[in-house]
Amino acid sequence: MKKTFVLLTTMALALAVQAVEVGKPAPDFTATDINGKTVKLSDYKGKIVVIESYNSDCPYCHNQYQTGAMQALQKDLAAKGVVWLLVNSVNPKNFSHRTAEQAKAEMASEKMDVTAWIDDSSGAVGHLYSMKTTPHMFVIDKNGVLVYDGAIDDQPDPFHDPSKAKNYVSGAIDALLAGKPVPVAQTKPYGCSVKYAD
């Protein structure tokens, strides 16, 4: 039943907007965050938006947070007025799933600085954006156009030092803020597979 629902939602969304593609308008979505608030992407038009596919049990995500690199980036971008939407698409049967309470605790303990943590346990947003891995990053410009789709950085390894890697998200946003074209618009995302419902 749930699977059918997800499928239908995904298909409806996919029909409404073309598949996610760099240089085209980013597909809009409406979702709920862990505080029960409704998050609608198009509400953020006029602002740069970062979307992050997240699963803290995945060593690749964990590496970005454990080293503090992701939080530093979030803090830096928040100061520049960038919206950061964290999407957790882990299905409820997987033990990496987080209830709202667990998610709030994790957000506090990890000192995350994000606009919203979207509970996407249905996988609707994940499928809409063809999120493959955790992490999988997207950057949307002020006009709602997708300008970056891919990996967080150029080191596909769960143990590297992110401060020494080339971060594609900060690279894209620096370029946007400077009014220049995004240097690397698309890369192959790396990480664990997104734990969608079967």
């Binding site: 049990d57 033990f95 664990c192 597979s193 997104v194 734990k195 969608y196």
Partner: protein, 721 residues
């Protein structure tokens, strides 16, 4: 229990990531306990995953991480690239990955330097991987194994297991793939059509797929639409581009599944055209153009047609009559014909036909073996049965007994009967003898691939079962033809010498080439049994003794025949049980890992290096001509070629002059990589000698099966320009 473990891991996951993962057990295995300097030893990194957990292939797919091996090796030991067994496509469909469930063994060739000093070597490696089930956990462990550098190559207890995994590694194969973009690029994803001609695939293909290698700038996505057409397999895949231009070359693994044949997989590399090639080129067979030197009429570059191949098969069979390994049997056959020429022509004709039937029967049996071997998923090679140690032991014994028979130690025909009974029996014996001659000629012809036979058989191995039968039938007809013709045209029989007392002397003289054949076979057995082959010798002596008692006391004796027969029986059974079973362990030969020791260089001979596709590519990249000799211990033609046309001063000098690289591929134990290469040149067996010109664009020159110094020197001259 594990659920609790997972629960705990989930709670304390943050601390758990740096610890070793517990769901994959890793061991380092070696194919040899002791190896000589210059040998290549196979290392197997064996990974056993708990149920539900998997690790990844060299291209993990849309998520995951390829397993890494970082070697810490003593000086003089170098590790090659990881050879990855064929992975599985792992669900879910939205994030497809390539990996292994339950167990995988990653194979790494370790090469010992030729100047390595003897003694123990500690081989260490750090293996890191990502294992996933409901979660992903990175794992890493230090593994170690020790190898002894010594004077001999001694296979380890796990050599067979490593070989078994190595067989799962897709081999390089030129399938002549064509690929093109279905349409111009509109966005970052573009449909790609990959077309595989099925002419090189003998079986009915039920499904097929392509597992791409990993690329940074683009990704060949996992979903595959398969379209099985007549003579072609078409795969439709999507390529997603991340950056740069659309790729014009893609490599990976092509695999297909055929009912009863299992799954076959090959390493392939193909060029992507901007649109579909014209009709004719899609069905291009990709047969390597064969140089005129070989005298084979394939100048058109097209697949040789069936009637032509059947003609080659027939001529090949004819030529087999004069190849070195059939000569001793010819002695037998000549004897047979002289014996029968005195009888009435009708009987001679009948015997000629029975001889032909014997040849054909054994060729058809051989075809059946080839087909069943193919069915087992192996790439069969001509001379296959000579790779089996058990076969060699049986054949050595048989040839030894034939030699003793020629010496007159015992008789095959029973004497001392009444005249009428003797006449009838002789008829029977004659028929049985003719049939047996046919069988023997076939068994001995196998390791010799005559010049015309090679392409015919190469063609046969890539065909359907019915065609394999047909080709083998024609080889058999060729082998039998001269004798059938002689027996029908009685006028020609008059050219044969008159029977006389000289025959007995001639018969005994012919026993010596037979004995030589036995010695050669014995030498082959030494490869498989090491110094233990002594017990095969003991067995042969015991059997010879039994044969003598049989001849002297059972056949020619007057009294005590029964006792003599019992002794013969005891000797045969006792010799078998003691020498073969308890001492030689003849059914469990010590197999030497393939390619081991092939890189040994004779003191002032040609500096042979082991063949591999990479070695060829490497040498050509530096602009040097390359001489490749595919050979095997059991291939007499190869040994003769080497003696008279390759390992000779003039060729050595020429190789130095033109700065050529000499590579040798040892086919004694049928390594798959060489089988694939032989198939690529449409050959089913060795010898195959190739000369790659200096100009790296030029096609290799394929030398004929029987070489003369002139042929080799001309080819090398041609390659240097």
């Amino acid at each position: 229990m594990r659920r609790i473990g997972i629960f705990l891991a989930a709670c304390f996951c943050l601390a758990a990531f740096t610890a070793n993962a517990a769901h994959t057990q890793v061991n380092l295995l070696l194919s040899a306990d002791t190896a000589r300097p210059g040998d290549t030893v196979l290392a197997g990194v064996d990974m056993k995953m708990e149920p539900g957990w998997h690790t990844y292939w060299k291209n993990p797919g849309e998520a995951g991480m390829a397993t890494k091996i970082e070697w810490q090796l003593p000086p003089g030991v170098t590790a090659g690239e990881i050879q990855w067994p064929l992975p599985e496509k792992l669900p879910p469909a939205e994030v497809t990955t390539y990996g292994y469930n339950d167990e995988v063994m990653l194979i790494v060739p370790l090469t010992l330097a030729t100047n390595l000093s003897p003694g123990p070597l500690d081989l260490k490696a750090k293996v890191s991987w990502l294992e996933c089930k409901e979660v992903c956990i990175p794992g890493s462990v230090d593994v170690a194994a020790s190898l002894n550098a010594g004077m001999e190559t001694k296979a380890s207890a796990v050599a067979a297991a490593i070989e078994a995994w190595k067989k799962q590694v897709p081999t390089l194969f030129d399938l002549s793939v064509s690929a093109w973009w279905e349409k111009p690029a509109n966005d970052d994803t573009r449909p790609l059509i990959i077309s595989f001609p099925t002419k090189r695939i003998s079986a009915e293909v039920a499904s097929a797929d392509f597992f791409p290698n990993a690329y940074e700038q683009f990704e060949v996505q996992a979903p595959t639409e398969t379209n099985l057409k007549d003579g072609e397999i078409r795969l439709r895949k999507f390529v997603k581009k991340f950056s740069g231009d659309w790729p014009n070359e893609i490599s990976g693994v092509f695999l297909y599944h055929a009912p009863h044949y299992g799954t076959n997989a090959f390493e392939i590399k193909f060029h992507v055209s901007s649109n579909e090639p014209a009709g004719e080129t899609t069905s291009r067979t990709g047969v390597a153009p064969v140089s005129n030197l070989s005298g084979q009429n394939t100048a058109t570059g097209r697949m040789p047609v069936l009637p032509l191949m059947l003609l080659y098969a027939f001529i090949g069979g004819l030529i087999l009559n004069v190849m070195p390994c059939v000569l001793p049997v010819i002695a037998l056959k000549i004897l047979g014909f002289i014996n029968h020429a005195q009888h009435e022509p009708r009987r001679v004709r009948a015997l000629g036909l029975i001889y032909a039937a014997g040849v054909l029967a054994s060729f058809l049996a051989l075809a059946a073996v080839v087909i069943s071997v193919k069915a087992a998923g192996h790439h069969a090679g001509w001379g296959m049965q000579f790779g089996s140690p058990e076969f060699i032991v049986c054949l050595t014994t048989l040839i030894m007994l034939v030699a003793l028979n020629l010496f007159g130690v015992f008789e095959v025909t029973l004497g001392g009967r009444t005249l009428s009974a003797a006449g009838q029996l002789a008829a029977k014996q004659g028929a049985a003898g003719a049939f047996f001659n046919g069988l023997l000629a076939t068994a001995l012809a196998t390791p010799c691939t005559a010049p015309f036979l090679a392409p015919a058989l190469g063609f046969a191995f890539a065909q359907k079962s019915s065609l394999i039968f047909l080709i083998f039938l024609f080889v058999g007809l060729g082998l039998a033809a001269p004798y059938v013709v002689l027996s029908w045209n009685s006028a020609w029989l008059k050219f044969l010498p008159k029977p006389g007392a000289w025959m007995e002397k001639f018969k005994i003289a012919m026993g010596f080439p037979m004995l030589l054949t036995a010695v050669w076979l014995f030498n082959l057995a030494a490869d498989d049994y090491g110094t233990n082959v002594l017990w095969l010798g003991v067995f042969l002596v015991l059997m010879s003794f039994a044969a003598w008692i049989f001849g002297e006391f059972v056949q020619r004796g007057r009294a005590g025949k029964d006792i003599a027969l019992v002794i013969v029986f005891l000797l045969a059974v006792g010799g078998y049980a003691f020498a073969l079973e308890s001492q030689l362990h003849w059914r469990e030969p010590v197999t030497v890992p393939d390619s081991a020791g092939t890189s040994r260089a004779a003191p002032d001979g040609i500096a042979w290096q082991p063949w591999s596709p990479e070695a060829v590519a490497q040498a050509r990249a530096t602009g040097r001509p390359v001489l490749v000799d595919f050979t095997a211990n059991w291939c007499l033609t190869c040994q003769v070629n080497k003696k008279i046309a390759i390992e000779i001063p003039s060729v050595r000098k020429k190789l130095k002059e033109i700065n050529a690289v000499a590579l040798v591929g040892d086919y004694t134990h049928f390594p798959d990589s060489i089988t694939a290469e032989l198939n690529r040149f449409n050959r089913a067996g060795v010898p195959l000698v190739l000369v790659y010109p200096k100009n790296s664009e030029a096609e290799p020159i394929v030398l004929p099966a029987v070489l003369t110094p002139g042929i080799v020197l001309d080819a090398l001259d041609g390659a240097a320009h």
